[in-house]
């Protein structure tokens, strides 16, 4: 039987001379009817380019297919080589026979058109439907992706829907005309972990319903375990290994696959939690940071005289303390208030109520007067491109009124060496460094003032998985060496497991569970923590059926003067407590 798709020795290049600048170099694979192939690789591996070549969208991104063939078995059993097909033929195939969903649902839908119009377009293009028929078809398509109240939602524009909803709209569009092949290019990377679980569940269900084939592109080999039949691992534009899911996960033969499976953070239900530095309150050390009853509200105003109509309770009564040499991870989903908490600690947003104390003196006499420093998520955006590394590292010293003298110079050099960058980096500019190196620079900058607390806001989220692992190792080493306390904000449970001593789970502006990392991850008590942990894909839970759960996070908008009920806590074990649920 001919496979649905047969790719042979595919080569794709970019620029004026595509042959000299190939990004995909001789990739071959087959995809049978109803089969799911996962293409796994890090950024620059050529996995997305391979996918975009199949429906030839790569033509619009400056790429050219320089060799090989892409044979698609069409609905009438005729075989067409997409690599040499002409554009009019391709527009008939895109959307009708090959559907595609992308990484960023927020930007992948046209902001000025209603989602109804955008779904209808597929039916207009390929089914010739118009008017009411098209609207009815669009409503059915929304129903199919389990969006409640579909008829009303058709009139929404993309800015009125959440990321998870938008990705479901994208799926509705991609599957509108029942394509036999769906290409999903990192469809859940930009989404929260519980939303990711919903989307994965939806894709699995729709695949069962329609019997379509799927090419699933991801950097997360743990995610693959839940959905793929076959796996192809890509590196530097080549397929280094491909085979059945179980064979690849259990008996990887290529060193790179082994590296992906073993060296990068995978979630292990608390088994991989750090065992060093058990907290010991009786020893009399004072905490490096104490946060007591932190409240951050953003007032909402409306009307002619801008009177207050309510407030967004972004952070609503958060307490924790942080010992020197300890990592407290704050985990939660977007909008939960974890970044606002971090910003309040840094003084970047004004807290409505609550107190902090930073025990600078408690740690050591050499600490500076400004003991809290930060590392942000995006290493590409958080280094000024016009400054040399030397100026960037000098910045915190200058900003706090210090002088750049021989001592500062020596500190720069030693910190650079410590984060694994050559001393010659000082004269260079940020664009000369890779993402991982830039994050190392950000870390070095944060350490310039010799802080006692470092706030790491999604500090490894933008990095490739194998780079993530190295930066995490660096952070752990630095923590041991300098006795740093980390406040580690993250949505990624696998990363948190690697670095945290303690974990605080934050939901709708409140901490719902806090305690020892191993205990929280292995024996979650609060229902939200359980849901969050259940949503994390792991290699162990292979082919698990994700439950479709469409509950939304509650609104944080409250009427003026609203005060939440005081929290009641239940204690589990020595260092683990959860909020009592109503």
């Amino acid at each position: 039987m001919t496979p649905l798709l047969s790719v042979r020795d595919l080569r794709v290049g970019f620029g004026r001379d595509p042959r000299a600048n190939e990004v995909v170099r001789g990739v071959s694979f087959d995809l049978a009817d109803g089969e799911t192939l996962a293409i796994v690789g890090e950024s620059g591996s050529g996995k997305s380019v391979t996918a975009l070549s199949i429906n030839r969208l790569i033509d619009f991104g400056g790429g050219r297919i320089t060799g090989g063939s892409i044979a698609l078995k069409r609905a009438n059993a005729a075989v067409l080589d997409l690599a040499s097909a002409r554009e009019p033929q391709l527009t008939g195939i895109r959307g009708a026979e090959i559907g595609m969903i992308f990484q960023e649902p927020m930007t992948s839908l046209n902001p000025v058109l209603t989602i109804g119009t955008q779904i209808e377009e597929s039916f207009r293009l390929h089914r010739g439907l118009t008017g009411r028929q098209a609207t009815a078809a669009a409503r059915d398509a929304l129903d199919r992706v389990r969006i409640p109240d579909a008829a009303r939602r058709l009139k929404y524009t993309p800015n009125q829907l959440s990321g998870g909803m938008l990705q479901r709209v994208m799926i509705a569009i991609a599957l509108a005309c029942n394509p036999r092949l769906l290409i999903a290019d990192e469809p859940t990377t930009a989404l929260d972990v519980t939303v990711q679980a919903q989307i994965m569940a939806l894709l699995a269900e729709l695949k069962r319903e329609t019997g379509m084939s799927v090419i699933f592109i991801t950097h997360d080999i743990g995610l693959v375990a839940g959905i793929a039949d076959r796996v192809m691992v890509m590196q530097n534009g080549q397929a280094v290994e491909q085979g059945e899911l179980n064979q690849i996960l259990d008996h990887p033969s290529h060193p790179y696959t082994q590296h992906l499976l073993h060296a990068v953070p995978h979630f292990a239900n608390g088994r991989a939690a750090r065992a060093d530095g058990q907290r010991d309150k009786d020893a009399g050390t004072k905490p490096a940071l104490e946060v007591d009853g932190l409240v951050v509200r953003f007032p909402l105003k409306s009307g002619f005289f801008s009177h207050a109509t309510g407030a967004v309770h972004a952070v609503d009564g958060v307490d924790f303390d942080l010992m020197p040499g300890e990592t407290l991870a704050i985990v939660g989903e977007s909008g939960s208030g974890k970044s606002t908490t971090a910003k309040a600690v840094l003084g970047l947003v004004r807290s409505t109520r609550g107190s902090f104390s930073v025990g600078a003196a408690a740690a050591s006499a050499a600490r500076s007067a400004r003991p809290v420093q930060m590392v942000f998520q995006n290493p590409y955006a958080s280094l000024n491109p016009r400054l040399t590394i030397e100026s960037i590292l000098a910045e915190p010293v200058i900003a706090t009124g210090g002088r750049v003298n021989a001592e500062t110079q020596a500190r720069m050099a030693s910190l650079l060496e410590r984060v694994g960058l050559p001393r010659t980096s000082l004269a260079r500019y940020p664009h000369e460094f890779s993402g991982g190196q830039r994050q190392r620079l950000c870390i070095a900058r944060a350490l310039m003032l010799n802080p006692s607390v470092v706030v790491l806001d999604e500090a490894v989220s933008a990095l490739d998985v194998s780079v993530q692992a190295m930066v995490l190792d660096l952070l752990v080493d630095l923590q041991r060496e300098f006795g740093l306390a980390y406040l580690f904000i993250s949505h990624d449970m696998a990363v948190v497991e690697r670095i945290a001593h303690r974990i605080a789970v934050i939901y709708a502006g409140q901490i719902v569970e806090i305690g020892d990392a191993a205990s929280v991850l292995s024996k979650p008590k609060h229902s939200y923590t359980k849901k969050l942990i259940a949503a994390v894909p792991t290699i162990d839970r292979r082919r698990e059926h994700f439950e479709l759960d469409t509950r939304q996070i509650p609104s944080l908008v409250r009427p003026p003067g609203f005060e939440p009920a005081p929290a009641r806590w239940e204690q589990f074990g020595r260092d683990h407590m959860a909020r009592v649920e109503a």
């Binding site: 991104g61 046209n110 902001p111 597929s122 002619f304």
Partner: protein, 319 residues
Amino acid sequence: MNYLLRRLATFPLVLLGVSILVFVAIRMVPGDSITAMLGTEAGLLTPAQRDALAAYFGIDQPWFVQYWRWIGGILHGNFGISVTYGRPVLDVILERFPLTLELAILSMIIALAVGLPAGIYAATHSEKPSDLGVRIVAMIGQSTPSFVLGLLIIYTLSAGFGVLPAMGEFAPLWQDPLRNLSQLILPAITLGFAFAASVTRIARSAMLDVLSDDYVRTARSKGASARSVIWRHALPNALIPVVTLGGIEFGYLLGGAVIVEQIYALPGLGRMVLDAILQRDYALVQGAVLFIAFNFMIVNLLVDLAYVALDPRIRLGEQ
């Protein structure tokens, strides 16, 4: 609605600021209206005669008294009397305004009709020779002064084809539409050419940006044709900068186009204001500047409303 009211409420404040500015500015120019009106003969006036004239025009009072009288008059709909024309200022302005408005509208139509397609064409053929051609023409259009282009058009028509542009007494649109158009089309082309050039450049860069956006890729993945991708998905998203530019240029044109009016001998606002300044016709300058400022604010408001119509993400008046 609420937003509209709040926005309109700021108008008087802005106009107050503009009125003080122009009132003070014009009085800082040396000379006075009596000298400007009578020329060398002003020297023949006896001091008594001069004082009488000054009292007649009200310029014998301190400046704040003059300002107070002027503003008080405006609040009653009286913008004062033009010294040069001997008629109410508002009448003189409203007589000139239709021509200026018509010229501005015609220029904008030309600019959009030429500039938008040219910009879109250049963006969809980017880095090809045709794109380069469009960009060169647009560059020339933007950098050619309007008097050069105006004179060139007149010269080519008269020397090359023996046709003279329709001059003479200006015919309002509602009296003789054909003659009116034949009088205004060349000035409109002269103004519209540079305007079109800027529209082309901004439309090209906005389209180039938008064409690399994710939702354009999504549209293509649905199987949308190149035409539908451009007109339905990309263009509405690229229009915001074009509207911004169009609004600003249109607002300027409503203030009159001195050089083009001069070349084509048109009685527009621009020449009127210039003459009024030269004649120290204080009331007319002040009235005209207020009028132009008011128009500019109306155009800006319309531009903001157009944003809302174009992009559902933009909600006016929210904080």
